[in-house]
Structure formats: structure tokens, C-alpha cells
């Protein structure tokens, strides 16, 4: 996978603001660190050596050490000024993050589940609402408001190249405003410990030029392709008559449960199981047969289908571009 996940390679204004503040803070901290440690090392190098038998110098206590005091006081005052500067810079950045212009924003609702992301594209026109899982697509240069919800425990959405993280808290609604100014695919993953597969609760945000995004969106709004060959038809039948449809949805079929990722266009996704393995027919077959082997603790049950059936199901799912 070539998607990047790095807080210091910003691809949008929010992450860029934070990155700027980071370098500024690092510089101020370095300016504090070098003289402090320098003073310590210089003191140690210069101070006369002693042993435990050396009589202690208590004369110091009775006469005030004016020079030392003025040095220490100045150091404290300078630190205070540095801190006030950092505070100011931090509050300014915070303000800037809240000021992202939101005209014509795209609204996406992300719901955290153990351990995958349900992504719903909102629209005033209900027929234009659709959901997908684990892979977010956004248009370059257009602001996006992400509404964050959780269905079980606390998760945290984090795409470091675009913005800092925000928690998805059950019973609460939070929002996050982002914009990608550079086309590309950015990886993110859950940042709040959420149980067994916290490590494999990843997702990607792909920023596309506006026209490409519109095309993608139009494709996502389409119901699933009707299977044409016999094998795929058998696969669809297995899907809608077996236990798959108890949890998954495929638009255009009778399957419309929302317990698990929406599979309407599953074949167009890069990975399976929220970034755990690449989306290949072999991996898909292994995943259906024994998901615990790939992602221990996952809620998907194992399905031991006869060889032909498994093949038909994988073939059908492979047609869902």
C-alpha cells in the first residue's frame, strides 16, 4: 500500500497549521534545551572536585548569593516569556483550525464499529445518500465536515496528513472539518484503544479532483451490478439466502442489514477487514472461511462452505465493482 500516514507531511490546511506550530514549538524548545543543559555541563566542568570528606560550604547560607539569584531569576523570567509565546502561538493555531471556511462543504457521517468504519455520504436528497466502509473519497479543495458517531466503544478518527484526531464517543456527536489540497491517498487508523483489533482498524482518505470525485460518487449511488454468469448468480443466491445478509447490505438485492460493512461496491475497495489484508479473491475466500485467523476477535463468523459455493460467492462479490 502506498498510502502515507504522517503528521509532518500535511496535505491540507488543518494539518499544515499544526505542522507549522509543531516546528515553531520544536524550535523554541530547542532554544530552551541547549542553554539549560549547556549551563549544567559548564557548571560541572568548572566546579572544583570534592570528596565526601570535603567540608560542606554553609557560609553560603548566611550571606545572600546575589549574583546567583539574579541569574536564576532571569532564567525563570525568560522561561516564562517563552511559555507565554508558546501559549499564544498555540491559541492562534487553535483559532485558525476553527476558522476553516465551510461553504459548499461535503457532509460525511462516520460511525465507528469494532473494528471497521461505516461511512455515509449525506445529501439533502435522500435518494443520493449512500454508505460504504473503510475507504473515504473526498474532492480536492472542497471542505468536508465529518460527523463522528460510535456504535459501541470509544474510537478516534485520525488521518495525520489531513488533521489531528477526534474521538467517536457513544452517545455523543462530534464533528471534524478537513480539506485536502493535494490529491492522493492518505491512511488513517483508530487512535483510541478499542479492544482486540484496535491495531487493524484502518481506513484511507482518497482526495480526487472534483470531476473524478463526482464520477466516483455517481458510481457509488448505483445499485449493485446484476450478476450475468451462472457462477455469480449462484453466489448472489448464496449471499441472500445464507447468513451473509444477516449483517451485510448490497443495494439492489434483498440484503440491507447494517451490522457489518456495506458490500454494494466491495470489489472496488483496496483492502478487506479495515486495512488488514489486500482485497484479492484468495484473501476474500480465506476471510469468509476463517476470519479469526486473519483478524482474531473479529465479529464476523466463520463460514465453511463447500468448495464450489465458496468459489461462487467470491466470484459474485468480485463482480461488485
Amino acid at each position: 500500500m502506498n498510502a502515507i500516514q504522517n503528521a509532518l507531511q500535511s496535505a491540507g490546511p488543518q494539518a499544515a497549521q499544526i505542522e507549522q506550530l509543531w516546528w515553531l514549538t520544536l524550535a523554541v524548545c530547542a532554544i530552551a534545551f541547549v542553554p539549560t543543559l549547556g549551563a549544567l555541563l559548564w557548571s560541572l566542568w568548572r566546579a572544583p572536585r570534592a570528596t565526601e570528606a570535603t567540608p560542606a560550604d554553609t557560609a553560603i547560607v548566611s550571606q545572600p548569593e546575589r549574583r546567583t539569584r539574579s541569574v536564576v531569576v532571569s532564567a525563570v523570567v525568560i522561561s516564562g516569556i517563552g511559555l507565554a509565546f508558546l501559549l499564544l502561538a498555540s491559541v492562534r493555531t487553535d483559532h485558525a483550525l476553527a476558522q476553516l471556511p465551510l461553504e459548499d462543504a461535503l457532509n460525511i457521517q462516520v460511525t465507528g464499529h469494532r473494528w471497521w468504519w461505516d461511512i455515509q455520504y449525506d445529501d439533502p436528497d435522500p435518494s443520493k445518500i449512500f454508505s460504504t466502509a473503510n475507504e473515504i473519497y473526498i474532492p480536492v479543495g472542497r471542505p468536508v465536515v465529518i460527523t463522528l458517531l460510535s456504535d459501541d466503544v470509544i474510537h478516534s478518527l485520525w488521518v495525520p496528513n489531513l488533521h489531528g484526531k477526534k474521538d467517536l464517543i457513544p452517545g455523543q456527536t462530534a464533528t471534524m472539518q478537513i480539506r485536502a489540497d493535494k490529491a492522493g491517498t492518505y491512511r488513517g487508523q483508530c487512535a483510541e484503544f478499542c479492544g482486540l483489533q484496535h491495531a487493524f482498524m484502518a481506513f484511507t482518505v482518497t482526495a480526487l479532483p472534483a470531476a473524478d470525485f463526482d464520477a466516483w460518487r455517481a458510481a457509488q449511488l448505483e445499485p449493485a451490478a446484476q450478476p450475468t454468469d451462472e457462477k455469480a448468480k449462484r453466489g448472489e443466491q448464496l449471499f441472500t439466502s445464507g447468513s451473509c445478509m444477516m449483517c451485510h447490505a448490497i443495494q439492489g438485492t434483498t440484503a440491507n442489514a447494517r451490522m457489518a460493512p456495506n458490500l454494494t461496491h466491495v470489489a472496488s475497495r483496496r483492502t478487506l477487514a479495515a486495512g488488514t489484508v489486500a482485497n484479492t479473491p484468495q484473501n476474500l475466500a480465506a476471510w469468509i472461511t476463517d476470519p479469526q485467523k486473519i483478524k482474531p476477535g473479529v465479529n464476523m463468523p466463520a463460514h465453511h462452505l463447500p468448495g464450489g459455493d465458496l468459489d461462487a460467492l467470491v466470484t459474485y462479490l468480485g463482480t461488485l465493482k
Binding site: I18, T36, A53, P55, T68, V72, A75, P160, K166, Q197
Partner: protein, 645 residues
């Protein structure tokens, strides 16, 4: 001064044979029952320190397992379930069973000696608190070994730790461990506060209290204010889990974030009550090895106090990624920046002390110098985390793992190791080996930085905390491997420390009473101290009692007139340490131990049945009643003593 207390401060030497009589009066009884009945603060302190060190080693082994698992991508050494238990237990052990208790353990041993007392104020309670701590720690490790270790992190966020997503008894053990350590922590705090306020040597006014004792006094107050928050939280959690209350169940009107507020209202001050004792060690060691008093005593004391107050205004910076209002976050950013001022002040004062002193480079000082390098880095990354925007990026990543270890290991563990090298001769009567000590330091220092410095980069490169593994194509492999190499180096250095301690205890050079030429009162006692600490309890006439002549011209130099055959001490007034009244300490007793066993039975049984609270209370009531049951012979003896002129 009352007439009676005047009578107890004289200038005559203790009578011949007094030492033997005092030893008999203050020592712990012999035999196994005697061992379990021990209440001498030094016996309890020693056991406490050794137990805490044992938990440190256990927590370290858990950490080493995690580092081995993370050494390469897609590793299968431990699976997610075990990994989650391991990191939860590592954090829980280090915070609740090592860092806080070990500081209290050091205080139990050292504070009475440093203030010229013969005991902690409530010696039986000290023993009870120790046993509770030990039993709680053993319980959680037993649960872990039986495959029931807690797995929701040392912070146990709900709903993950709640009844819906944390099935079984795992997190109940966690919540009950908190109860154990809270009972212990709060009792020791009360003990230390009373000891410091009422048992100081006459003349040791507030302005003459050693900085380490100040640190432990402030720490004890912080514990009393902070710990009830987590005790409340963990009790609500276990009630949600066991009797279906809905404190944290949002579906029934509970609140998920309430837990985080309660936990961090304790959790952030906790960092500081681990750190402040470290500052106390620093001041004690720097003064001795710079051959002069610490520069700026009033500034040092005020800084400790300022830190302790500000520490209660930082907790929300653990929650910047939640829905807390922006203006509120700015306040917590400001507080997080402000708390750097008192710490910076102390660091500058220590540098000034070293710059104007004459330096004796021994192992304890090396560890203290390690503090400067590591803690300053940790403090500066702390400023970054205090800033809301930067925190949103690095929160819950390996950057925070690096930061917290720089602060806690640099700020507390390095001074603590320095303190162990420093006070080892006092506790055991033998010196630790310098050559091994220097190896110990340099390996620890190098290993620490190799282990934790790369984590800053990993965090910025997007690696979240608490992941049991990571895909190879994330590119986090090499730095993780480096970090594991560092962790192994730390393990080797700790092993060297153990070898050094065990060998030195038997074969080390015999220590004099004051081997480092230090100034505080514990060095006036024998090495190791007699059961009664001081043959003649000292009277203090200055801030550096062993370095300078008494400033109270004409004052006596020690307390006399106290009974030799009864555990009697002189209580002094809180502020000025003027003699106030005579106080008789209790005798050793098996009942604190039995009470701790009964309480343990109640706490553990209540994990399985809420009714245990009912019958368990009766079970606890029996030994506690016996504990306080007056003995006719003792009472008569005390009465006679009180009537004595």
C-alpha cells in the same frame, strides 16, 4: 511550652544501658508471628521498598515482552488478547504498584529518620497499609497468571471496560486493585502527614524541614485530594459491572466522559505525585554531592507547592480529542504551560547549586544528572502535548509513550535509583559497589534513550499506541527494532543493579554513619539504624543540622527524659516544632496483618458476589476490633507514666 514538655528537653546524656533497653522496647518481636506483627517503620519500609521493586521488575518483564512483540512488523509472539492484558498490567503495575507506592515506601523508611523521630505516627496503620498493598498486587498478578488479567488499559475507559464490552471478571480485578492501592495510599498519606506535622524534632520549624520531607508532605496531601476521584470512579465502574447501575451507560442517562474526568482528575496529579518525591531525592542528593545546601530553599519549597496546586488544573489535556469546549481547552493549555515554571525554577536552582558547589562525582549524583537530560526533554515534549493543536496530532501515539517515559523514568526512576545508591548504606550498613553502579547508570542511560527516543519519531510517523502489531509497509519496523534493543539494555542495567544490591548487602564495604558527609538527621543515626533510630532524639537548630552549629543559642541538643521501657515520643507543634506533649506508640500486633487478610477476602469475594460486602464487613470488624482492644496492663503502665513528674 508546658511544664511537662520543658522537663522532657534536657542536656544530660542518656543513661548507660539505655541503648539495650530501648532496643528491646522498639524492636519487632521474634519468630514468624513476630515478623507478621512487625510495625517498626524501618521493617515495614524495607518490605515496602523490596515489594515495590519486585513489582517494578515484574512490570519491566511485561514491558520487555511487549518490546519483543513489537520488534518486527506482523509478529506473532503474543496475540492481541494477551498483548492487551500485558500492556494493561504493565501500566497498572508501574503506576499503582510501583511508582506511587515506592515513593511512599521510601518516605515510610526515611521521613521519621530525617525528622528525628522514632516511628511513623500510626505504626500499626503503616503495617496494615503495606499488607493491603502487597495483597492487592498479588491478586492482580494471580488474576493475570490465571488468564483473567484486565485488558482495557491502565485507564480502563468505559464503555470498553464496562459490562457490555468487558465481559468476565477481568476489569473487576482491575477496579478492585484500585481499591486496594487506594486504601494503602490514603492511609500512608495520613500517616506521613501526621508524622511530619507532629513528630518533628524540637526546633525543626517549617523553615528547617529537609526538602525531601517537604516533597513527601506535599505528595501526601496531593494523594488525599486526588485519589478519592479514582476511588469514586472505580467504585462506580464496579457497580455498573456487578449490580447494574448505569453511571457510565449513556443509553440509560449515564455519561461516558464522566469516567475520563474522574480518572484524569486523579491521573494527572498522579504524575506529579510520582514526580515530586523524585524532586525531593534530587534536592537531597545534589546538596550532599555539591557539598553545599541547595540554592534557594524558599523558592524550592514554593515551587513544590505551586506544582502541587497547578497539577490539579491539567487533567483535561488528556481529553483534547473529545468534545470539550474550545475555550475550556485553552485554559488547560495555559495551565499546562504554567506548570513548567515551578519545575524550571527548581532545575535552575539545582544547576546554580552545582555551579557554586564543589562536586563529588559518585553514582547517586550520576543518576541525578541523568534526570536533567531526560526530564528536560520530557518536560519540553510535555509543553507540546499541552498545546491543543499539536496534541490532536500526537495524542495516543508513540510520541506520548516517549514523552511519559521521559517524564516518569527521567523525573522519578533516575532520582529513585540515585536514592537507592544514596541511602543503601543507611538501610543496610554497607556501601554499594561504585564500579557496578557506574555501569548500571551508563547502561540505563544509554538504553533508555535508545529505547524511547525513537518513539517520538514513530508517533509523528503515525504509529498509534496500544497496537499489538503493525503492517510491514508502514515502515515502522527499524525504529521499533532499535527501541527493543534499548529495552534489552535497560533490562541488563537493572539486572546489574540487582547483582550490585545483593552482593553489596553481604560483601560491600562497611558504611560509617555518614558515609557521604551529608547534612540531614538520618545520617546521625547508626548505619543501619537501631530499632529506636536515635539513642537521644535530636533537637534541631538549623536547616542543615549535621553541617552547621545550632542557631538556637543555648538550646539543648537532644531530647531526654522519655521512657525507655515504653514506646514514648515527644510530639511537637505543627508549625514551630515546639515540644507539645508526650505520646505513647502502640505495641507490635498481629491484628493489622489479620485485618488486611480479612479485608482482602472481602474485596476479592465482592468481585464475585455483592453480598461479600455485607458478610465481609463483619469479617473485617472482628480483627479491627481486636486491633483496638485496650490491654489492662498497658493502660495502667501508661497512666503511671503520665502521672510521673
Amino acid at each position: 511550652m508546658t511544664r511537662r514538655s520543658q522537663a522532657s528537653v534536657k542536656r544530660t546524656a542518656p543513661a548507660a544501658g539505655a541503648a539495650a533497653l530501648l532496643e528491646q522496647t522498639w524492636r519487632d518481636p521474634p519468630g514468624l508471628v513476630g515478623w507478621l506483627s512487625a510495625i517498626n517503620h524501618k521493617s515495614i519500609g524495607r518490605r515496602f521498598i523490596v515489594s515495590a521493586f519486585g513489582f517494578f521488575v515484574a512490570g519491566g518483564l511485561l514491558a520487555a515482552t511487549m518490546r519483543l512483540q513489537l520488534a518486527r512488523p506482523d509478529n506473532h509472539l503474543v496475540g492481541p488478547d494477551l498483548y492487551n492484558q500485558i500492556f494493561t498490567l504493565h501500566g497498572t503495575t508501574m503506576m499503582f504498584l510501583f511508582a506511587v507506592p515506592v515513593m511512599q515506601a521510601m518516605a515510610v523508611y526515611l521521613v521519621p529518620l530525617m525528622i528525628g523521630a522514632r516511628s511513623t505516627a500510626f505504626p500499626r496503620m503503616t503495617a496494615y497499609a503495606f499488607w493491603m498493598y502487597l495483597f492487592g498486587g498479588l491478586m492482580i498478578f494471580a488474576a493475570f497468571l490465571l488468564g483473567m488479567g484486565p485488558d482495557a488499559g491502565w485507564f480502563s475507559y468505559v464503555p470498553l471496560a464496562g459490562p457490555d464490552y468487558g465481559p468476565g471478571k477481568r476489569n473487576d480485578f482491575w477496579a478492585q486493585l484500585i481499591t486496594f492501592t487506594e486504601v494503602s495510599g490514603l492511609l500512608i498519606s495520613i500517616d506521613i502527614i501526621t508524622t511530619v506535622l507532629r513528630l518533628r524534632a524540637p526546633g525543626m520549624t517549617f523553615a528547617r524541614i529537609p526538602l525531601f520531607v517537604w516533597a513527601m508532605l506535599v505528595t501526601a496531601f496531593m494523594i488525599i485530594f486526588a485519589m478519592p476521584a479514582v476511588m469514586l470512579g472505580s467504585t462506580m465502574l464496579i457497580m455498573d459491572r456487578l449490580v447494574s447501575t448505569h453511571f457510565f451507560n449513556y443509553a440509560e442517562g449515564g455519561d461516558v466522559l464522566l469516567w475520563q474526568h474522574l480518572f484524569w482528575f486523579f491521573g494527572h496529579p498522579e504524575v506529579y505525585f510520582i514526580f515530586i518525591p523524585g524532586l525531593g531525592f534530587m534536592s537531597a542528593i545534589i546538596a550532599t554531592f555539591a557539598r553545599r545546601p541547595v540554592f534557594g530553599y524558599p523558592a524550592m519549597v514554593m515551587s513544590i507547592m505551586a506544582t502541587s496546586f497547578l497539577a490539579f488544573g491539567l487533567w483535561v489535556h488528556h481529553m483534547f480529542a473529545t468534545n470539550v469546549p474550545e475555550l475550556g481547552k485553552a485554559f488547560f493549555t495555559a495551565m499546562s504551560m504554567m506548570i513548567a515554571v515551578p519545575t524550571a525554577t527548581q532545575i535552575f536552582c539545582w544547576i546554580a547549586t552545582l555551579a557554586t558547589g564543589r562536586v563529588n562525582f559518585r553514582t547517586p549524583l550520576l543518576f541525578v544528572l541523568g534526570f536533567f537530560f531526560i526530564l528536560v526533554i520530557g518536560g519540553l515534549t510535555g509543553l507540546m502535548l499541552g498545546s491543543v493543536p499539536i496534541d490532536l496530532q500526537v495524542h495516543d501515539t508513540y510520541f506520548v509513550v516517549a514523552h511519559l517515559h521521559y517524564v516518569l523514568i527521567g523525573g522519578a526512576v533516575f532520582p529513585l535509583f540515585g536514592a537507592w545508591y544514596y541511602w543503601f548504606p543507611k538501610i543496610t550498613g554497607r556501601m554499594m559497589d561504585e564500579r557496578l553502579g557506574k555501569w548500571n547508570f551508563w547502561l540505563f542511560f544509554a538504553g533508555f534513550n535508545v529505547a524511547f527516543y525513537p518513539m517520538h519519531h514513530l508517533g509523528l510517523a503515525g504509529m498509534p499506541r496500544r497496537v499489538y502489531t503493525y503492517p510491514a509497509d508502514m515502515g515502522w519496523g527499524p525504529l521499533n527494532l532499535l527501541s527493543t534493543v534499548g529495552a534489552v539494555t535497560i533490562a541488563v542495567s537493572v539486572l546489574l543493579f540487582i547483582v550490585n544490591a545483593v552482593r553489596s548487602r553481604r560483601h560491600g564495604a562497611i558504611a560509617t554513619d555518614n558515609p557521604w558527609g551529608a547534612s540531614s538527621l538520618e545520617w546521625a543515626a547508626a548505619s543501619p539504624p537501631a530499632a529506636y533510630n536515635f539513642l537521644a532524639p535530636p533537637v534541631v537548630g538549623g536547616r542543615e543540622p549535621l553541617w552547621e552549629a545550632s542557631k538556637d543559642v543555648g538550646a539543648p541538643t537532644y531530647v531526654t527524659g522519655l521512657a525507655l521501657d515504653v514506646r514514648e515520643a515527644l510530639a511537637t507543634t505543627p508549625l514551630d516544632a515546639r515540644p507539645d506533649h508526650r505520646y505513647i506508640f502502640p505495641q507490635p500486633s498481629i491484628w493489622p496483618f489479620v485485618s488486611a487478610v480479612a479485608t482482602t477476602i472481602m474485596f476479592i469475594a465482592s468481585i464475585f458476589s455483592p453480598w461479600a460486602i455485607v458478610w465481609g464487613s463483619l469479617l473485617v470488624a472482628v480483627p479491627v476490633t481486636a486491633w483496638f482492644w485496650p490491654k489492662r496492663a498497658e493502660t495502667e503502665k501508661h497512666l503511671a507514666l503520665e502521672k510521673r513528674p
